[in-house]
């Protein structure tokens, strides 16, 4: 469920002017592009990269929350968390499938994740030391992801758009379960409320970073917008998220850790919105480049699962071959 502003997509393409113009005309008519359709190489590469990053984010995203499944403090919360983390695995699966329509295999994408070549959302490189983080991730991280993802349901590439429709439908419970969890903490003891505030203090800024760099610094955004892979700019979505989230924090009686946050009635063409403080981009790039607190642990955990699982996958394939051989032999008799 976690998409991030695309990092480092190379949209360069070498087709003829006529081909590109005809393709752009299809996009402009809001026609969906399907797997077999002719498409510019840059379009294909951008999609493989973006859908791959999105899928990896879902898979890596299972880890910080999976961390709390065995420690969830009630059976109801345990079941909800387990179902949510499972959903993320499912979303990764749908997205890998969408990318596979572009001619890249899940195994290849997995190896690119494990080698560090492919990126995933930087948010998952932060640790989840407390139970409150399960609430905050649902509320802020899933909330930010939903802002990103709803427009993706209208993405020009059919399989990606269809996967996203499914993801968005299933995901509607994720943010609510997170927020409800925080309500329980905020209605509880001082220790519980402090736990919630501490968690928001840690997750607020990384959640804002999920929308990616400022538009001015996001070199590949423009082409993605033109191809309707992306519908809103990073900054537009970030602003929408802040405007939607701050009142929800107030309802909980919690503060957002931004001393510069201020209501500005002029913003959003006079509808009003929040001005906010500057994001720490040094930290953002540090985490994106692999030097966040949990980057190494996350990749290590994925490598371990993949390597430890190899004998299982091999056994299933070996058995399938034997079965097929037996079926052929039986048919021949």
């Amino acid at each position: 469920m976690y998409s991030q502003g695309l990092i480092g997509a190379d949209g360069t393409t070498e087709e003829t002017e006529e081909f590109l113009a005809a393709f752009q005309a299809r996009i402009d008519r809001e026609e969906k592009i399907e797997p077999n359709d002719p498409m510019p190489e840059g379009y294909r590469k951008t999609l493989i990269r973006q859908i791959g990053q999105h899928a990896h984010s879902e898979i890596v995203g299972m880890l910080p929350e999976g961390n709390w499944i065995t420690r969830a403090p009630s059976l109801r919360r345990k079941a909800a968390l387990l179902a949510k983390v499972q959903d993320e695995g499912g979303h990764g699966l749908y997205l890998y499938s969408a990318a596979e329509t572009l001619g890249v295999s899940r195994e290849q994408m997995t190896e690119e994740l494990l080698s560090g070549k492919a990126k995933y959302s930087s948010i998952f490189n932060y640790p989840t030391p407390t139970w409150a983080d399960m609430g905050t991730i649902g509320w802020l991280v899933d909330g930010a992801a939903i802002m990103n993802q709803i427009p993706l349901c209208r993405c020009s590439y059919g399989p990606y758009a269809r996967a996203m429709i499914r993801v968005c439908k299933e995901e509607s419970f994720h943010q609510r379960q997170g927020y409800e969890l925080l309500i329980s903490l905020c209605n509880g003891t001082k220790e519980q409320k402090d736990m919630a505030q501490d968690s928001i203090n840690r997750w607020w800024w990384p959640s804002l970073m999920m929308f990616g760099p400022h538009d001015a610094d996001s070199s590949h955004s423009e082409q993605s917008m033109k191809w309707k892979i992306k519908r809103f700019s990073n900054d537009e979505l970030r602003q929408k998220f802040i405007d939607a989230t701050v009142p929800q924090a107030e309802y909980l009686g919690l503060t957002v850790p931004d001393p510069d946050l201020k209501w500005n009635p002029e913003k959003n063409n006079g509808k009003g919105g929040y001005d906010h403080g500057e994001i720490n981009w040094v930290e953002f790039w540090q985490v994106v480049k692999g030097h966040g607190q949990m980057n190494r642990d996350r990749i290590k955990a994925r490598k371990k699962a993949w390597n430890d699982g190899e004998w299982v996958r091999d056994a299933a394939l070996a058995h399938a071959e034997k079965r097929a051989a037996r079926q052929t032999a039986q048919a021949a008799e």
Partner: protein, 250 residues
Amino acid sequence: MSVALFNALLELGDDHLILGHRVSEWCGHAPLLEEDLAMPNMALDNIGASRNIYTYAGEVEGKGRDEDQLAYLRLDREYKNCLLVERPNEDFAHTMLKQLYFSAFMEPYWQAALSSSDETIRGIAGKAVKEMAYHIRHAGEWVIRLGDGTEESAKRMKEAVEELTPYVEELFVMSADAQECADDGILPDREALRAQWNQTVANIFDQALLELPEVKYPQLGGRTGHHGEEMGFLLAELQYVQRAYPGMSW
């Protein structure tokens, strides 16, 4: 209240909770993505059944204890699960075999419980029996593939069979409480399910090229609270928040 029924329900509830806990440990670490969806489904079934059972146990006890108080707030000696379910996951072969052994017992158990004299038990059984039938199929298909897959998978599968089979006997053992409930027609006679268990497992082992070893020295003790060392760590994780922040609601 019926002390016997309360205790017998704890045996059942603890079996499901602890097994569900173990399989939930895999979430996010499965050998292939499709299993990262399948295993949480099994965990959710097991944990879901434990919730229904604990809730009923709390009603039977009549002291106002709810599912969470029963699941989280007992001491290690008070957990009555059989030793099989608390065994560590080890590898995928152990995990699937444990799941098969348990569901091959619980499916006929719930089937028999459908004719319980107790309406709530019948209700719990009606839902659980279908879940267990699917667990037999899913875990069973994996046991077949690993048993008759590669050299390595066959070796691992055989090791799992060696290690886990001695824990099976405890599934059939009737505690005094379970016996009393069986005599009253509330819960099934565990001993009577042996033939069905054997048949289910033999059918799968036949295809998996595995043999069920003869067990001379069964491992028993869980029903009387004599757990293994790993159980303490499992409970430390399970109970951590409830113990660190007592009396709060989550």
